[in-house]
């Protein structure tokens, strides 16, 4: 990373700060002169490793800082949570208040923050050589067909109706049946509900209903673009391969080996393929790749700007990763040595994402996927790199393979299927469900003989994660949660007995849920309600559980305000929110997003939830949020984003294209229950019709007035500070 190049700038403000006031004025001036040009606007979007603060968040008990942290050694100074001596060092960033003899702060660490503990090699994401899927939290869409089922988080009848309307009704499937199934156990209140509905029934019903449509509907729409993409990728791969060769002759194919090794780890049942087998597999894959490249060369590749940009985007990440991370990963994997040194390197490079317009990779991914899905056919050009599947192709397959698979823990299986079916939606609910499933799995986990708990459990978790990813792409919050868990596992002291380790992990997970989500929500609610005044008209979009909590709490404490709920097709999530708000006696206005520019006149504040907030302040949220924020900004209405800090991510995103989730395209085509407007009902497979049902969009930070997090109210420009200062703490808790 660019950390070292930042050194001079650090000197200006950060390195020198502890004695800031004390030193001679002349010095200051000199520094300032040197630093003036640095202090420009973009200054802070770069993460500067300031002295680390390990202070507990106010809401959390201070004792949490006192917990001994298992890591020591090199980073003892910021692992100050751990040893009392570190705690002695003043952690306060003293502004203008330090006497001359203040103890100097330990030098700013030039290393970038938190060691990433997750163990990529084990992960098996669809991307062949990807590191951990954890590190790629964002939208990778495997199964989107669920979109329709995830539908509005509405109370039962609604759900039923929609589901019935959407389902690719075939054969013996009876909507009513599924209704029964899904509704009876737990309607899984989508926004507020962070409980996992005990969905045995629903699972079954889903199995049933999906058991029909064709399994392999199609192959990819081949095109110039695809081929060039392939070329680009394979070129990158080759380059990296060459690199590897150079370094050691022996580990010739190590990069590839890693990829393949990922496979067995995801399916432990498959046991270890022998080395020769793996080698053979590699060879064949490499041959395929070369073939692909040749082909790519031939096709002249209508080199549109987009293609080249896609290439450009793809190449750096992949090269970097394959070249740097993979060999080290491979090495550590083989030796079974401690992976600590590689951690930093790995987390610096963004993990490559599966590009679904890359045929060979998709094929590869498919081969080892648990969930078999069929790609949708007419995909929108710009979004071909995102996965989009035809609806209802996975479950029958899953069902048939149920006993063939490695013993997947039932809790994991259940939650995965709930994702697939859309029974659990909403960032927090999904995250909690996942983490609790992990907890169950850990409780029942027994270390195989001759294996090490830390490593084997990490592998297990990785395989679970890849299963979840196949069910529905992970959200960023889930990625962060997984990262946390893996970190905890990696940091378990070896001396710990298995049962102790398990209880420790379970309590860690409980604490994560409690501190990062539940208490965080309470703090956010408290902060946000201070911004609600009597007579306000608050607008919200979609259904965010945190916004709902805020509105309800503000109502409870007697604030007088009106709520405008803006909604949009096809999910109509706002209706569920509206229902609950009305039930509590709030006065509400409900309208669709088409009317937002009209209704904005009377609004005094916009409260929005977020799926994630990225480092440049971009808010990644339900599609439509950006439009609402833009309109609000144009009307000079403050836009307040409410988001727990565990959803922050250090990635930067400028548009909604590179990473997103595609929903069921049919959902935009059909209006359930309105036969008279279904003009397009039979057109979905036309070659000249492309349907786009985008799930998320990116709101630029200019439109955001404030982000309310568990660390207080911050401007969007301060997201990287939170990420920088607390990532480590987040991993350690």
């Amino acid at each position: 990373m660019a950390v070292t190049s930042l050194a001079p700038r650090i000197g200006v403000r950060h390195g020198g700060w502890p004695l800031k006031l004390a030193p001679q004025v002349a010095n200051e001036v000199a520094m300032a002169r040197a630093g003036l040009s640095y202090n420009r606007k973009d200054h802070k979007s770069i993460s500067i490793p300031g002295p680390f603060q390990t202070l507990a968040i106010p809401i959390l008990s201070r004792s949490s800082t006192d917990r001994p942290s298992p890591d020591g050694g090199a980073d003892s100074d910021d692992g100050s949570a751990a040893d009392p001596h570190a705690a002695i060092k003043p952690k306060v960033r003293q502004v203008g208040f330090v006497p001359r003899n203040a103890p100097p702060e330990p030098p700013a660490r030039s290393q970038s923050y938190p060691a990433e503990a997750s163990s990529p090699p084990l992960s098996d994401s669809p991307a062949g050589n990807s590191l951990s899927p954890v590190m790629i939290p964002p939208p990778r869409h495997l199964s989107d067909n669920l979109a329709a089922y995830r539908t509005p988080a509405v109370p039962v009848p609604e759900t039923a109706r929609r589901r019935a309307g959407h389902s690719p009704v075939v054969g013996s499937y009876d909507p009513a049946e599924s209704l029964l199934g899904t509704s009876s156990p737990a309607p899984s209140p989508p926004s507020s509900g962070r409980l996992i509905g005990d969905g045995e029934f629903s699972d079954e019903s889903w199995l049933l209903r999906r058991s029909n449509s064709a399994k392999f509907a199609s192959s990819f729409p081949g095109g110039g673009f695809d081929l060039t993409a392939v070329k680009a990728v394979s070129a990158a791969d080759l380059a990296s391969d060459a690199n590897v060769k150079k370094t050691t002759e022996k580990s010739k194919g190590s990069a590839l080996e890693v990829k393949n090794e990922a496979i067995p780890s995801s399916k432990p049942l498959k046991a270890k393929t022998t080395k020769s087998e793996r080698r053979a597999l590699q060879e064949s894959q490499r041959a395929a790749k070369v073939a692909g490249r040749v082909e790519g060369n031939k096709s002249t590749a209508a080199a549109s700007g987009r293609v080249t940009s896609a290439k450009a985007a793809k190449q750096p990440t992949q090269k970097k990763d394959v070249a740097s991370a993979a060999p080290s990963v491979a090495a550590s994997e083989k030796k079974g040595s401690d992976r600590a040194p590689e951690k930093d390197k790995k987390k610096d490079a963004p993990a490559p994402r599966m590009q679904f317009d890359d045929k060979s990779r998709v094929e590869k991914a498919k081969r080892r996927a648990v969930v078999n899905q069929t790609e949708a056919r007419n995909r929108v050009e710009l979004f071909r790199h995102l996965p989009q599947y035809e609806q209802g192709t996975q479950l029958p397959d899953l069902e048939s393979k149920f006993f063939l698979h490695e013993p997947m823990h039932p809790a994991i299986y259940k939650v995965g299927l709930q994702y697939l079916a859309g029974d659990i939606s909403g960032g927090n609910a999904r995250c909690i469900a996942m983490v609790q499933a992990f907890q169950e799995a850990i409780k029942d986990y027994v270390t195989p003989t001759e294996k090490n708990l830390n490593r084997d459990l990490t592998a297990k978790i990785s395989s679970y994660v890849s299963f979840f990813t196949e069910c529905r792409p992970l959200s960023i919050s889930m990625g962060n949660a997984i990262r946390f868990i893996k970190n905890r596992i990696a940091k378990l002291p070896l001396s710990l007995s298995e049962s102790d380790a398990k209880t420790l992990l379970c309590s860690d997970i409980d604490r994560f849920i409690n501190e990062k989500i539940i208490v965080a929500d309470q703090v956010i609610v408290r902060h946000a309600t201070t911004k609600i005044r009597d007579g306000d008209v608050l607008l919200t979009y979609g259904a965010s559980c945190i916004v709902e909590m805020i509105l309800l709490y503000a109502h409870e404490i007697g604030k007088q305000f009106r709520v405008v709920v803006i909604d949009s097709r096809p999910k109509l999530e706002g209706q569920s929110l509206l229902r609950r708000l009305i039930a509590k006696g709030l006065s509400c206005t409900y309208t669709h997003i088409n009317a937002v520019s009209y209704i904005m006149h009377e609004v005094t504040g916009v409260f929005l939830g977020a799926s994630s907030v990225l480092s440049n302040g971009t808010v990644y949220s339900r599609v439509g949020t950006a439009s609402v924020a833009m309109v609000a900004n144009a009307f000079r209405v403050p836009v307040i984003i409410c988001c727990e800090a565990y959803k922050f991510h250090e990635r930067v995103q400028l548009d909604s294209i590179c990473f997103n989730e595609l929903g069921d395209p049919d959902a935009v085509l059909k209006v359930p229950g309105r036969m008279d407007v279904n003009y397009l009902s039979n057109l979905q497979n036309r070659e000249n019709l492309q349907l786009l049902n985008l799930m998320y969009d990116a709101t630029p930070s200019e439109y955001v007035s404030m982000i309310v997090t568990d660390y207080g109210m911050i401007p969007p420009t301060s997201v990287p500070v939170i990420v920088r200062e607390y990532r480590r703490e987040q991993l350690l808790i």
């Binding site: 200006v12 403000r13 700060w17 800031k20 006031l21 004025v25 002349a26 200051e28 001036v29 520094m31 300032a32 002169r33 630093g35 003036l36 202090n39 420009r40 606007k41 200054h43 802070k44 300031g50 603060q53 202070l55 968040i57 106010p58 009392p84 705690a87 002695i88 060092k89 003043p90 952690k91 306060v92 960033r93 003293q94 502004v95 203008g96 208040f97 330090v98 006497p99 001359r100 103890p103 911004k531 005044r533 504040g605 403050p638 307040i640 007035s705 404030m706 660390y711 207080g712 109210m713 911050i714 401007p715 420009t717 301060s718 500070v721 939170i722 200062e725």
Partner: protein, 409 residues
């Protein structure tokens, strides 16, 4: 009408005696309202007039325009008190010494607010510093025997101090800063109680010097931005801004200054006065002439009552419109503010702050039916500010939040 305690006059006499500018309005300053000293102690716990921001009272006292005859009267009035005030009770006479401020006289219960009020009467002492000195006095007078007790006691004191004047941002920030230091600096936890205590007191006392030094640092830092031949628009009276301009003069920069009038307390006139003494070419504008003159202006330089988390500032009424005008004409807006003015506040708009009210003298009687906007300050959002000159360096507005996060979280 201002109410001011008589001891202020002593301060002013001890320091540089204010000279009567032409614009002085003796009738706005009534002596009769100055309460007798003993009564002052009694009602000091209660903010005497909640309708008037205490913060702005102090400012008016420090910067206010005082006529000589009023001064004479006031001196006569306080004369007897200063004689009997020699008993060590908080008289202004000892306020110059760092060790002073042992406010809790014998027999009278110690009150942090009295202490604070004594400190803040020093014209050069920033409010935050006064707050911290007052808290240090709390420590000194404390009978606590453990760190925990002391912390609780301090917390109470700082809460009451903050509650006493909710309108003063730097008071709140100063209290928070000190509390933060006490509760978070774990260096203290492992020390013996008495030495920890004395260390805290020492810190608090050093803070005064530091705040002076902060102004120097800011002045030095900002020199790079003042170029020869530039025209600077300033608004209101700010000690930091004055320091900046003074330093520029010392550095032989040639520039001219436009001072706004700074209604309602006409603090701009005072600044103009000070600058005239330095032989800086000054022009005084009425507040509404800002847009008219903006095309001649090269930069806007303002102080701040408080710097909030968004990077915006809260300052004398009129700053916002100046910033807007400057922004629309692409003129840089610089803010000079010490870092202890950084406050954990995040106003979303103008009304989203505790209003600081201040009476306005229009010179003519206002019919009772007519409402008067008496807010003393406004909020300037960060997008209209170019840079902040602070003792931490020259910062963009967005860095303020970083600093605050580092400091408070």
């Amino acid at each position: 009408m201002w109410r001011r305690s008589a001891s202020f006059i002593l301060d002013n006499r001890n320091a540089a005696p204010p000279q009567p500018p032409a614009a002085a309005k003796p009738d706005t300053l009534t002596l009769s309202s100055a309460p007798p000293p003993t009564a002052a102690m009694a009602d000091a716990l209660q903010n005497p007039n909640p309708n008037i921001s205490a913060y702005y009272q102090t400012r008016a006292a420090h910067h206010g325009v005082v006529t000589s005859d009023w001064l004479a009267q006031a001196q006569a009035a306080v004369g007897p008190r200063s004689v009997e005030g020699g008993d060590g009770s908080s008289s202004a006479a000892d306020s110059g010494g760092v060790g002073g401020g042992g406010g809790g006289g014998v027999g009278r219960p110690f009150s942090v607010i009295d202490e604070f009020n004594n400190w803040r009467k020093q014209p050069d002492l920033a409010e935050a510093v006064a707050a911290i000195r007052a808290l240090a006095a709390v420590i000194r007078n404390s009978e606590a025997t453990t760190m925990m007790e002391l912390e609780i006691e301090l917390k109470k004191a700082s809460d009451s101090l903050k509650a006493w004047d909710t309108t003063s941002i730097s008071l709140t920030a100063g209290c928070d800063l000190f509390m933060r230091y006490v509760t978070r600096t774990s260096a203290l936890e492992y020390e013996e109680f008495n030495s920890a205590k004395s260390r805290l007191i020492e810190r608090a006392e050093k803070f005064g010097e530091i705040s002076q030094k902060a102004r120097r640092i800011i002045a030095m830092l900002s020199q790079d931005f003042i170029f020869d031949g530039c025209t600077i628009l300033v608004h209101g009276f700010s000690r930091v801004v004055l320091e900046v301009l003074k330093t520029a003069v010392q550095n032989k920069k040639v520039f001219r200054v436009f001072c706004t009038e700074g209604r309602p307390d006409r603090s701009g006139l005072r600044l103009a006065n000070e600058l005239a003494k330095l032989d800086v070419p000054v022009k005084i504008l009425i507040d509404s002439a800002v847009a008219y003159t903006m095309d001649e202006v090269d930069m806007v330089l303002v102080g701040a009552d408080g710097v909030v988390e968004s990077g915006g500032i809260i300052n004398l009424m009129g700053t916002y419109q100046i910033a807007l005008v400057a922004h629309s004409m692409n003129k840089p807006v610089y803010v000079a503010a010490e870092s202890y003015k950084f406050a954990r506040l995040y106003p979303l708009d103008q009304k989203d702050m505790a209003p600081a009210l201040r009476p306005i003298d229009f010179g003519v009687p206002i019919p009772s039916k007519v409402e008067v906007e008496t807010s003393a300050r406004d909020y300037t959002p960060p997008q209209y500010l170019t840079l902040l000159f602070t003792d931490l360096g020259v910062l963009t507005p967005s860095v303020v939040s970083d600093e605050l996060i580092q400091l408070y979280l």
